[in-house]
């Protein structure tokens, strides 16, 4: 980004050297220092958590990840029920949120007139602005009651023959956790899907329309194949959000250290277990909870990295300003 572009490279280097005043060096130092702080923060994050979790890692070994019993009183720590809880809620939320979000994104880009798509888009994105704890509180007093009295019984009646789908609907439980997560990650998946779908070249659409395709055929044959990688990235970004979501889930998931046996049973996710048990935890239990946080951190780090790469690959060359 040298500003002077003289013909020969050695000349440019000379110019650069002469041009850099003491003020420039200070400026570079301060701004690079800030960037270094950011790098140190992320290293420190991993280091501190690994350090605090070390006692538990030594004590429980790899069995920590697949042990099914969590009994702090007897110093037995197995994280599988919470890993499973996180997996079940996030994947459920991912499937439903992606289905809804992609349909909304297609509506906004392909169907709706401009005057309608702006406000609708904005409304859906507003969902992302509501604090997690407000979701949780609303989830207990409004959504949970609706699930117990109306939605739950219908699900048991129609899908109860499938194992895992029977049970007694309660205000809090696995299903409530899934539902609240679906709502919460919807705006993330929608916003990114909308961007990658509108990045599909116009000629792609016009070509297939000229062959006589209907709008749906155009979407299925020309738009979706083109946007597939980006939509996948959007879904994975949503997944990362669902995996790390804490308080909303803590409030509605029912909090039980046992493996859930049906979809309405109380459960725990990794994040909600930490939020709930950490304040009273001491010694090895505290270390075990931090180990769970470390596992969570590694998982979300990996998921985010993959999602970023996918989204970058698709929207490359486009300036996507401040989008999750």
């Amino acid at each position: 980004m040298a500003v002077t572009t003289s013909g020969r490279p050695e000349r440019a280097a000379l110019d650069l050297k002469n041009r850099l005043k003491p003020g420039d060096w200070t400026f570079i130092g301060v701004s690079a220092g800030s960037a270094l702080v950011v790098i140190l923060l992320i290293i420190g994050l991993f280091y501190e958590l690994a350090n605090q979790a070390w006692a538990s890692i030594q004590q429980t070994g790899i069995g920590f990840l697949y042990g099914t019993t969590w009994d702090p009183a007897h110093a037995v720590f197995g994280a599988w029920p919470f890993i499973l809880g996180t997996l079940l809620t996030s994947v459920f939320a991912l499937i439903f949120a992606t289905a809804i979000a992609v349909l909304v994104a297609l509506f906004l880009v392909e169907v709706s007139p401009a005057w309608l798509s702006r406000p609708v888009s904005y409304l859906v994105e507003l969902l992302a602005a509501i604090p997690s704890v407000v979701y949780g509180f609303w989830g207990i007093f409004v959504m949970g009651v609706f699930i117990r009295d109306h939605l739950g019984p219908v699900i048991v009646k129609t899908l109860g023959w499938i194992p895992f789908f029977n049970g007694t609907p309660l205000i809090t439980g696995l299903f409530s956790g899934c539902a609240i997560l679906t709502i919460m990650i919807l705006p993330t998946v929608m916003a990114v899907s909308r961007d990658v779908i509108s990045a599909v070249p116009r000629s792609q659409r016009e070509g297939i329309l000229a062959l006589g395709a209907t709008r749906w055929e155009m979407i299925r044959l020309a738009v979706l194949p083109y946007a597939r990688a980006g939509v996948l990235g959007a879904a994975i970004l949503g997944l990362a959000r669902a995996v790390g979501e804490t308080l909303a889930v803590t409030l509605v998931i029912g909090n039980s250290v046992n493996i859930p046996h049906d979809i309405f049973a109380p459960a725990y996710t990794m994040a909600s277990l930490i939020a709930n048990q950490f304040p009273e935890a001491t010694g090895l239990q505290q270390s075990a909870l931090i180990e769970i946080a470390l596992v969570l951190l590694v998982i979300t780090f990996a998921i985010n990295a993959v999602a970023r790469l996918l989204v970058w690959r698709v929207t490359k060359g486009q300036r996507v300003v401040v989008q999750e």
């Binding site: 980004m1 609708v120 992302a128 407000v134 007093f141 209907t214 970023r308």
Partner: protein
Amino acid sequence: MTTFDRSAIQVRSDRLYRRRKLLNHAVTGLMLLAVACAVVPLFLILFYVLKDGLPGLSVHFFTQNPVAPGTPGGGVHNAIVGSAIMVGLAVLIGVPVAIGTGVFLSEYGQNRFGSTVRFVIEVMAGIPSITVGLFVYSLIVVRQHHFSGFAGAVALAIILIPIVARITEEMLLLVPRSLREASYALGAPRWKTVLSIVFPTALPGIITGIMLGLSRIAGEAAPLLFTSLGNEFYTTNITSAMDSLPTRIYSYATGPYDNWHKQAWAMSLLLVAIILVISLAVRALFGSRVTVRQ
């Protein structure tokens, strides 16, 4: 080919055409249903927060501190003040680092170190806020042996940094190159050009970014649970445990008292109102591409 055959083909292609049209309409219908699924929860949340929150917004809600459970009255003055202090402090701590990083990325970020920093910021934005809380817990609370508002502010600052750094870089890159060149042509060195020409031009956008980050951390409870903890009493001392709106909503939501629930709705209304006002203002000033995310 006989006429009979032709009409049979005709019938068949008519049927196919009708089926294609029907499928097209069905998918459009599905899309509308999906839009309803996405928008209805928002309205339900806003509706209930307004309906159950408005009655709780009395004068003593703002001016009094929490009272013993079961006693009528009381307010959340300490939580409002605590939230304001910690969010303000987080902005003071986080914004300089974030702006420095953003400036670095836009000015000197076209190399391997720059790409690494950019990647770290992207990933940092997606880290669960509860792990940030635990990090600050072991970094500050464990070493100082007590919870503090300062630790809470640091945790919030860590969440703020990637948001503001990203927006700062974007905004600086949007500044037209001609402005920069005019400054160089007058003989200004690079640091002077950036500080007195590029940065001021991008400032409205950067302030917008800070406002967005601010409204995001104002609603965060998870990083505060193990750092500032919460406090029944009013305090402005950042070295002691401090109350905040999100953590108080959390503790009131799980409690059994009607008065607590009423105040939790009112606090939710207050938080959502602040965040939506910021979001709408930013939208009005800045157009459609910038949004708040929790």
